[in-house]
Amino acid sequence: MRSFSLFHGKFRQTLLAALGVVLLLQGRAVSLEAGSAKVEITPQPGVPLNGFGDRMGRSATAMHDTLWARALYLSDGETALFLVNTDLCLINAALRTRVLELAPDVVPPEHIILTATHTHNGPGGMEERVPFRLVSGRFVPELLEETASKIAAAMLQAYEARQRATVGYGTAKQNALTKNRAVNGGPIDEQIGVIRVDDADGLSIAILANLAAHPTSAPESHHYAFSADFPGFYYAALETLTNPKCVAMFLNGAEGNQTIAAPEGKEGWARTQSVGELLAGRVKEAANKIVGREVKLRVAYAAPELPLSIAEPLMPRTTVLQVLEIDDLAISFFPGEPCVELGLRLRQQALAAGYGAHFSVGLANDYLGYFVPREQYGAFRYENAASFYGPGIEDWFYEHFASLQSQSGPVGSDESGALAPQKEAGGFTVMELGEDPFGRGLARGKQHAQDIRTRYERHVLTPLREMAWGPHAGAWQFWPPFMDRSSISLPALAISTRARLAGLPVELIREVEGLSQGAGLPFDAVWLLNNADEIRVQSGTDALFNTPLCTMFAVRGAKAGADGIVLGRNLDWSDDEVPVITRYRAASGKGIIQVGFTWNSGILTGMNSDGVAVSLARVAAEGVPDWKDPPASLVVRTVLENAATLAEAVSQLTQASAPVGYRVLVAGPTETGFDAALVAWSSNGPVLRAGEEELLLAELPEDSTITPEARQRYLEVRRTLTEERIVGIAEVEQVLTTGSAATSGQEEIYNTQTQHSVVFLPAKKQLRVRAPESSGGFVELDVELKD
């Protein structure tokens, strides 16, 4: 008989293997712990609500449903963290700071992630900064303390309830729960993210849902009642579907331009409840498919410096960014309200980097306002109005989140910002700029940073501080003189001016971004500088830019001789600018040369490599520019970058959405040679003047609306050039320098305000530039534009 031994042969091997598996499982099970808790944070009525400015800070009068702080503690044995969601409108820096002070000392502060659902029926009263109190109501220090204490208590309870756990994640799809509130039919985030945390017996400790939508559906009847909005219904429904100890949690996504739909066609509270319950159902469905397991946790934290903001010192210079990784799930926490496009693009980036899934969570750890995608920066919408860090904030987030992730793919990066080649030529600064729009702007900005900053101070900040710009009617007339409203009026003006970006190419926005970064200014600051001349006209102040911008004329036909066509223009400008000639290649492939200043992003005088030349003049008789149109100089730039012939240029100029009050002299190739035309942007629509006259003047002396000074100038041009049989560059030069840069008034062609004179020879793609010198003479430069 064979003796059977427990320790014999294959049986022994099998036993040892099984023992090893058991030990392994035991070890793995011990390392992951989780605990959840919820604490009510509903204050007593009588404290202000947050979220809607129309409440004017009034206090809540009732409670519709309970507000909670819900906390999840997770630890994989190496990394421990708290993830908290609160039924608040937002987490501000003061609240976060106090919560961190009161939080249990069991995880590093960098591993505490505080989020808000963004309900607009939550308490305010926790904002010390005065301008923000206009939405969040008066500051109630006791409420801040009470709320922070309760959040900390939820964390402590979650920690004390920790036990062995497993975690899993999954996603579900939706297309009926949410909609784009900014654009009808616009993009939404179809993903519902789900994280399931189970105890060792497989019962859910917590289920987290991530969905991008504004919880702003409480009906008007409960405008002053506390409510968690649809997340409240979601909590209740999900907890009913699971088990009593399960804590349902809601992490709002990239909800900036998202809101809830009406999936069952309901209204009022019924709609809110419907969305909450449907969401709970979808989440439960997804959770049922999730298999919990031991996971690896990772929390990355940074407090990076933000891009410059037009709203400083109101807005902070640094913020908190966090990324939570649960195995191959990456969760990015935004300190504000990102629009859905940012969330979707970030997800793409994460997936491309190798993650299995990505969630975006907004309203986390701080509140910096809205973050809009670059191409929407000019759209005049609420989200843009609450965006303070420029269009580049989008890339900033991509870059910084990528740096926090353990897996990161390629992220677009800007040029290093090396200075562009620049030379002094004939007394002019000539810059050769690259093809990348951002790099072009960056190079110019760095080269002329000091000058740009000085002009920004002079042309934008000073009139705001001195209240030359700004509302004066209504309640504003009671503004106390000891209070400086420019910290509020500057961002307000910037917001309204952004609308003029609409319709302009993204490359232009990139170039202005580069210009502002190079100059060390916020994007909106440089944009305001580019619009300052038209702002002054709007305000009716007679100052810097409210003067006829020059003398322009074209010599055509036989009179122009072999040159085919000659254009001449003087640019008059009240301020002493630094003349800069810039050359670059546009996205269309055309070479561009422009004569301007250090800061102008548009084109006042320029030519492209096809021989299309343009010059722009402000003519007050044509009207006051409409604010909804882009700046005139930028329209001109767009045309110059795209038109190959005179006909194309004229067509684009007459069809462009352009501000009234300007005239554009344009020349370019035709089928038979070269010719010129004048396009006037008048209050009655665009007017084209392109006749047979050999001398095409920007303003006709016999016009009844012409100013006396302009009449005198153009009479002189006509008189001088009519006498000449052939008018070439020399003759035009002579006309353009009739007068004295030191002493002449505006009635002279060359006067104290003349910044430069330019003579174009489009057929030869040449131009000659002259600028006055302080000694009374002038400097001169010939430039040729090759393909």
């Binding site: 409440r55 004017m56 800070g57 109190r133 010192p313 400086d484």
Partner: protein
């Protein structure tokens, strides 16, 4: 031969001596008598030259713009120089030099000074800006007079004949002076001194007026009288100001006769001039009580004229519209607006730094018929349960203790008013008014009162402390023109330092029947 033994050997000497003495017997007496004679002559001379031959009034021009009489200057100057008042002007070099000047003995021992300035000091002049014609007239003692005679031995005094006027000059002090009898006349202006010494009889103040003025005062007193071409004439016809430097304080009593520019304004402001017993508010960093006599309508017109306010303004009218919507309330307000002589009080209770916009907490009351307000309070609706308050509609507090305008959120931004005894009480902050209304129901403790047209008292330290938090909140976001949070903090600290030196200040104004205004100022300084 006699029987007398004669010792010629000794007596020769003695005799010799005796004889010498005998021959000298008249000399000691001569010296002695000479000495006494000389002494007598000296004394006689001293008495003669130091007799009181002149009077102060001869050297003081009549009709000066200001006259200041200081009794016992040498003692008073230490009290004045030692007052905490000057620490308030530490930043002003001119004001800061005053205590130094008062303490300056000009290198002379105290006993000399006491004899040089032994009587009242009369200071007068016309130039109130630069005091270039300041004239000081005082009386020396006999010893002082004699001491002055020996000025030629002092190298700090220069003589100037000046056509027989015998002027003296102190180059270091830049002062001219002259002595007539026992009268000492001092001035920084040579022309002024000459004028003073050569006054015609009718041009001088005269003895009678002088003595009357001097005898009437025990404290430093400044008199101002303006002539038609004086720059102050439109504002001041005459003024008398008495300074009392008390321990840790200064009291000023003044009477002001307004000039032709100010008289109509004062008359309008103070109305009939009758003043009542005003009740001083029980609390507040600044407390004001007034019965100006003029109606609010008149006061508003005056303010518009003086300060450039707009009499009518659409935005303001829109804010007031709800108050005018109720006919009874409108009637009450219109009556108040046009009625003269309604006592009112106002107190600034501090700031609410946590309001949506940091707000001052003001509380006040007007003595006027309360029936219309009581009726409004009874009829006003309560705030709707859903919280949808119209910002400019009147609502009643649930216990009907007051009505309020919701405006924008926050109790410090809810103007409220209520009938309280015989007055209408009001506040910018509903909790402040609630507290006042509740306190008014308690048995009233006796309130301080004062007889005046206008009374203001302030607690500077509390005032500056109230400004800290709201100022920092505004400066933090650049809302205070010219300040950052750090610079505001530094600026306020300097004011707090000043304010801590004056724990209390009070001012009372009264109008008299003849159109003059009396003023009483009470300043307390920290120890």
């Amino acid at each position: 031969m006699s029987d007398t033994v004669r010792d010629y050997s000794k007596r020769k000497t003695a005799n010799r001596l005796y004889t010498q003495e005998g021959s000298r017997r008249g000399r000691p007496h001569f010296i002695r008598w000479t000495f006494f004679a000389l002494l007598g002559m000296l004394l006689t001379w001293s008495w003669w030259v130091s007799r009181d031959t002149r009077s102060e009034g001869e050297f003081i021009p009549a009709g000066q713009t200001y006259e200041l009489v200081l009794n016992d200057l040498l003692h008073q100057r230490h009290i004045i120089a030692g007052s905490h008042l000057w620490s308030l002007f530490a930043a002003s070099p001119e004001a800061g030099a005053v205590p130094t000047l008062l303490r300056n003995d000009f290198g002379m021992p105290p006993w000399v000074l006491r004899n040089l300035v032994s009587g009242p000091c009369h200071i007068s002049g016309a130039d109130l800006i630069h005091f270039s014609d300041l004239l000081v007239v005082t009386r020396m003692s006999r010893i002082g007079c004699l001491l002055e005679r020996f000025h030629t031995f002092a190298d700090f005094v220069q003589d100037e004949e000046a056509g027989g006027l015998k002027l003296r000059y102190l180059p270091e002090a830049k002062l001219f002076y002259a002595v007539r009898g026992r009268i000492l006349v001092v001035t920084p202006s040579r022309d002024r001194l000459i004028e003073s010494l050569t006054l015609a009889e009718g041009a001088a103040l005269g003895d009678g007026v002088y003595e009357t003025a001097v005898n009437a005062i025990t404290q430093p007193q400044l008199q101002l009288v303006s002539s038609a071409d004086d720059p102050i004439a439109p504002y001041v016809t005459g003024a008398s100001i008495t300074f009392s430097f008390v321990e840790n304080g200064l009291q000023v009593h003044a009477t002001w006769q307004p000039g032709n520019r100010m008289a109509p304004l004062v008359q309008s402001l103070f109305g009939s001039g009758a003043h009542r017993e005003l009740k001083i508010p029980d609390s507040g960093n600044v407390r004001l009580a007034a019965d100006l006599g003029a109606s609010p309508s008149v006061l508003w017109s005056l303010a518009c004229e003086e300060f450039g306010f707009e009499p009518r303004n659409d935005a303001r009218d829109a804010l007031l519209a709800p108050l005018l919507a109720d006919p009874a309330l409108q009637a009450m307000l219109m009556a108040w607006w046009e009625t003269d002589g309604q006592p009112f009080w106002l107190s600034w209770e501090g700031m609410d730094p946590n309001a949506m916009i940091p707000m001052p907490l003001l509380l006040g009351g007007v003595t006027m018929p309360v029936a219309p307000v009581a009726a409004l309070l009874a009829a006003a609706p309560f705030a709707p349960a859903d919280g949808s308050l119209l910002p400019t509609a009147l609502f009643a507090e649930p216990d009907r203790s007051f009505v309020y305008l919701p405006l924008i959120g926050g109790p410090a931004l809810e103007p409220a008013f209520a009938p309280v005894r015989n007055e209408v009480a009001f506040s910018l902050s509903s909790p402040v008014l609630r507290g006042y209304v509740a306190a008014s129901r308690e048995p009233a403790a006796s309130r301080r009162t004062v007889k005046a047209n206008l009374y203001v008292e302030a607690y500077p330290a509390a005032c500056t402390a109230s400004l800290r938090e709201p100022g920092m909140a505004l400066a933090a976001f650049g809302g205070l023109r010219g300040f950052t949070a750090a610079s505001f903090d530094a600026w306020l600290q300097s004011w707090e330092a000043h304010a801590s030196q004056i724990p209390f200040a009070a001012l009372a104004l009264n109008m008299t029947a003849d159109g003059a205004v009396t003023l009483g100022l009470d300043l307390r300084f920290s120890e």
